[in-house]
Amino acid sequence: MSKEWPLWEVFIRGQHGLSHRHVGSLHAPDEEMAIKNARDVYTRRNEGVSIWVVEARHIAASSPEEKGPLYEPSNSKVYRHPTFFDIPDEVGHM
């Protein structure tokens, strides 16, 4: 078995941020060390107020080749956007 520490992906929610953003990754033996390490590396300059770490092997990602079929259905539904509907000027701001 490999003796390499597992890889963790790090997500930080910024001071005024609404959501956690992926900021990078690191190796650590367990989640506790991963959070400590993420605190030291990724929040040294007041970058955030909340840290999530998740082991990289638990993440599934979409593949670039599927880009077409994956997003095509939404492209054909223009009526999902508010700009699709013409509202007469007389009605005012809506």
């Binding site: 990078g24 033996p29 030291d40 040294r44």
Partner: protein, 330 residues
């Protein structure tokens, strides 16, 4: 540059006719300045070159902690010591970002470490020079980090997404390093005669090694054409070196220090400084492991890795035990 003399894999730049459909599609994306991401198709040589370049860059951050770490216990004031500690911590973080970027290309960090420790992968030649007086810490921040920034700012636009994003993060922090270095140099240059002499001595010793950081002259850098075509590199070695000299000369003048180059002068016609090339024989010797500190640096890294093995294993064993216990309780 922290990744000097990276040989681009492959036989040279292919014409469009020689490319396969996949390669043409890839080159088109690069030409449109689209970022290449880990799951995208990429030529094997692109992948290999990037692993080498990012890996070398990461190793440089790690080995680069040693010459500066040399002065932590001897920093002349508590404030300077705290600043130096913060800086060396940053370098560790930069190494980490870069190893992670390299790992998205399908190597593991332990594999890269193994390549470094066995001497199969390089790190920047600059870290094979010793730090002999306190002003050297100033010169390293000002010149070495200055040269690194000169190289890394354009790399923020490099074609491989994870590398480009690592560079954006790193550049923000590097400018703190360069400023703190210059701040040390200002203090030393305004100080007493002995301090001024130390500052001049540091500049004398670090000037040419800093120029070497950009890698060999373009006429000898046979591998850059492909790296430029793939936008792994954005500027040539000589372009970056020239930019560095033009930026640094007025900074030295402000300090009242002399750059150790008799041929250095402003060339009105070119709108740039003429200057002497560094000693390329020395450069190739350092790269081959025959610089002043190559042996010491590698010994330090190897013993840290070997002596630390039981700690790494212990932490892993503890994590596994904890996970098993949690699993049993569920």
């Amino acid at each position: 540059m922290y990744a000097q003399l990276v040989k681009t894999a492959g036989a040279g730049v292919k014409t469009r006719e020689e490319m396969s459909d996949e390669e043409r599609n890839f080159q088109d994306r690069v030409d449109r300045d689209e970022k290449i991401e880990p799951k995208d198709w990429m030529p094997d040589d692109y992948r290999a070159t990037l692993i080498r370049q990012i890996g070398q860059h990461a190793h440089s951050e790690i080995v680069g902690q040693l010459p500066e770490g040399n002065w932590i216990t001897r920093a002349p004031t508590l404030e300077r010591k705290a600043i130096l500690l913060a800086k060396v911590q940053d370098e560790a973080g930069h190494g980490l970002y870069l190893y992670c970027a390299a790992e998205t290309l399908g190597v593991t960090r332990d594999e890269l470490t193994e390549e470094l420790l066995s001497g199969r992968m390089k790190y920047s030649s600059i870290f094979n020079y010793p730090t002999l007086n306190w002003a050297d810490i100033g010169a390293v921040g000002w010149l070495v980090d200055g040269a690194a920034i000169m190289n890394q700012v354009p790399l923020q636009r490099t074609s491989y997404g994870p590398y480009s994003r690592a560079m954006i993060r790193i550049c923000k922090e590097e400018s703190f390093h360069q400023r703190q270095g210059y701040d040390i140099m200002m203090k030393m240059a305004e100080g007493n005669e002995a301090q001024r002499r130390m500052a001049q001595d540091a500049l004398n010793r670090f000037w040419y090694p800093s120029l070497m950081m950009f890698g060999p002259s373009d006429k000898d850098s046979v591998h850059s054409a492909q790296s430029l075509a793939w936008k792994i590199k954005i500027d040539t070695n000589d372009e970056l070196r020239q930019r560095f000299v033009d930026q640094t000369v007025p900074q030295a003048k402000y300090l009242g220090l002399t750059i150790p180059d008799e041929n250095l002068k402003w060339n009105e016609e070119r709108g740039a400084h003429d200057f002497s090339e560094p000693d390329w024989t020395e450069f190739f010797n350092v790269i081959k492991g025959k610089g002043p500190c190559n042996v010491d640096r590698m010994e330090d890294r190897v013993s840290a890795w070997e002596d630390g093995e039981w700690v790494r294993d212990g932490l892993l064993a503890h994590a596994q035990k904890k996970a098993a216990r949690k699993h049993a309780a569920e």
